[in-house]
């Protein structure tokens, strides 16, 4: 007789067993959040506070306190603690996302002003710092070449080092290598730049070039590649190695055909993240690549430019036109790194071991 139950007027509360209790409606957190923000903004406006940070803090505090009070009243103290923890997580999430979004917003809004086809395809040749015009072609080319060369050096060495550490290591040598990789992870980029400067440029007598910068970038990239590849190889189940060895497949082919393909998605992501990291490096580029306004397609001879270096130079000039160029270049830099990340994710998904039926 379900009719009878449904037809009962709502005002008659259903009889509660010990397992159920009063619950706040599902929209409560959203409503409390909206109310807190309104209250925060209202207080801020009324008191005439200039800083938006204060508005935000008041809102966040109100949100947590009101949630706690309301839940304690209606649902009980255990649920209140649960809700407060959830609220704190949300507040932290917003705190983390706000700067990120505002950074993206500022870069996009300021960068789009001068970003166009001309900007991407022309250098600063003959453009005075103070005047508008010019572009980043030379810097983009430099970044692609330097990062490309650095990856060509660092990725194979890093990959092979990781294979050695995971598949063959275990002795004193492996411990020493792990130690030095850890130390290398902590090298400040300017020190890597100085190292290449003293050996390659001062001792061996070469001039500034994209290649010199690429070597410093490779030094920074290598430990990151080793670490991430190592972690990925460790994730490959030992059973797969044994299954392969038990088929009479030699160890090197087991690594090449079973272990690496199983881990290739994660390894690619790791390498791409390392690439993204060095793409934004400024210090070693400043020391070793030197910077130029002209297009120099040869990374082995003469000064080049690069995106972070270009941003730095233009911002230092300080005129409106130069600052606009700096923002546009920064936007291109972010887009470049983001595209690399997307490519990495794509490859990781495409190459990941398939589980579907």
């Amino acid at each position: 007789m379900s009719h009878a139950i449904q037809d009962r007027p709502l005002s008659v509360a259903p009889r509660r067993g010990t397992l159920s209790h009063a619950r706040l409606p599902r929209w409560t957190p959203a409503a409390v959040a909206a109310g807190s923000v309104l209250a925060g903004v209202g207080t801020g406006l009324a008191a005439g506070w200039h800083s938006k940070v204060q508005w935000g803090l008041i809102s966040a505090l109100l949100f947590v306190l009101v949630t706690y009070a309301l839940t304690t009243k209606v649902e009980g103290s255990r649920q209140a603690k649960d809700r407060v923890a959830t609220s704190l997580v949300w507040v932290c999430f917003v705190l983390a996302v706000v700067p990120l979004l505002s950074l993206a917003w500022v870069t996009v809004s300021k960068g789009l002003a001068v970003l166009d086809g001309y900007f991407l395809t022309h250098s600063m040749n003959g453009v005075l710092d103070a005047e508008a015009g010019g572009g980043i072609y030379h810097a983009l080319l430099g970044t692609v070449e330097q990062v490309g060369i650095a990856t060509l050096i660092a990725a194979p060495i890093g990959l092979l080092t990781a294979v050695y550490l995971v598949e063959y290591g275990g002795g004193k040598l492996a411990q020493a290598v792990t130690f030095f990789v850890d130390v290398m992870t902590g090298i400040p980029s300017i020190v890597a730049g100085l190292f290449v400067l003293t050996t390659w440029n001062l001792t061996l007598g070469f001039g500034p070039s994209g290649f010199a910068g690429a070597m410093a970038l490779a030094i920074l990239m290598m430990p990151v590649v080793v670490r991430s590849t190592e972690e990925m190889l460790k994730l490959v189940p030992n059973e797969l190695r044994e299954a392969s060895l038990a088929l009479g497949i030699p160890k090197w082919r087991t690594i090449l055909k079973v272990v690496l393909p199983t881990a290739i998605g994660g390894i690619t992501t790791g390498v791409m993240l390392a690439v993204a990291r060095i793409t934004g490096e400024t210090a070693p580029v400043l020391l070793l690549v030197f910077g130029t306004k002209l297009i120099n397609p040869n990374p082995f001879e003469g000064a080049q430019s690069s995106l972070p270096l270009y941003v730095y130079e233009q911002y230092a000039v300080g005129t409106d036109a130069a600052v606009a160029r700096a923002w546009a270049a920064a936007l291109v830099l972010i887009a470049f790194v983001m595209i690399l990340n997307l490519v990495a994710r794509g490859i990781a998904r495409w190459k990941a071991p398939k589980t579907g039926r």
Binding site: G170, P237, E239, L240, R241, E242, A243, S244, L245, A246, L247, G248, I249, P250, R253, T254, K257, V258, P261, T262, P353, K354, T355, G356, R357
Partner: protein
């Protein structure tokens, strides 16, 4: 070509720890020999010494002799890779290669060893899958990943992969312990067929299974935890289960310990 295994005075170590002590036995060709015994008595370790997989474990070390017909697996100049092509292995948990299709899984041993003719590959894969009683279930999806099969199918895929390289001996370490009763039965039937062509050694925790599939049964035991495991007796399965010559065997089989 099924071969006879003749083990004499075999001990195996993990670093300083001696896992099995002074084992000698003969395994007849074209027969199924079951290893039974309590956990930790070294059945897996002993099995892995028979195709030189024991030394893959860090610190793994072996003393003694394993004759395969008239060749000592532990002789000088013996290549462990060649040994493993002759003595295949199926593991406790099904472990198909996750990046490979069903076809590639079966072909893996041949492809990665490099000794096959392209034209033969299709035939060998079909023959091996038929040999593992899996052909009818997968013939329409050979290009799908092997990890999409059920546990029992995956285990038969691993058996197909192992017999595709035409070994002389097939070692199985508790091949059914991760499977349901129906899949277990399928694999037991398969073992009965495979013994026409291979020498089979199977580790099992299931007495009924040992009684059902094996011709000879070896009972292993250890004096105490931490002590090395020993071979207590090896005899015809019928005799072991009806009238064993050692009291410990009878105690174990009748469930009085272990």
């Amino acid at each position: 070509m099924a071969k006879r295994i003749d083990v004499s005075g075999l001990s195996a170590y993990y670093g300083a720890h001696k896992a099995i002590d002074d084992i000698s036995m003969t395994v007849e060709p074209r027969s199924v020999t079951a290893f039974i015994g309590p956990s930790g008595c070294g059945k897996s370790t002993f099995l892995r010494t028979l195709n030189r997989m024991h030394e893959v474990t860090p610190g793994g070390r072996v003393e003694g002799k394993v004759m395969l017909d008239d060749e000592n697996l532990y002789g000088t100049n013996v290549d462990p890779v060649a040994v493993r092509r002759t003595v295949g292995m199926v593991f406790q948990r099904p472990n198909p290669f996750p990046t490979m299709s069903i076809f590639d899984n079966v072909a893996a041993g041949l492809r990665l060893n490099g000794n096959y003719k392209k034209s033969q590959l299709n035939d060998i894969v079909e023959k091996s899958l038929k040999g593992a009683n899996l052909w009818n279930e997968v013939k329409d999806r050979l290009n799908k990943p092997g990890s999409g099969l059920s546990g029992g199918q995956q285990q038969r895929l691993c058996i197909a992969r192992a017999i595709a390289v035409e070994p002389d001996v097939l070692l199985m370490d508790e091949p059914c312990s991760a499977l349901d009763p129906i899949s277990t039965l399928a694999i037991e039937d398969l073992i009965g067929e495979l013994k026409e062509r291979f020498t089979i050694v199977i580790v099992t925790h299931n007495m009924q299974q040992a009684a059902r599939v094996s011709d000879r049964t070896a009972f292993f035991n250890l004096a105490a935890v931490g002590q090395p495991g020993k071979l207590i007796e090896l005899d015809d399965t019928e005799r072991i289960f009806s009238n064993p010559s050692v009291q410990a065997t009878e105690d174990y089989i009748s469930g009085r310990f272990g």
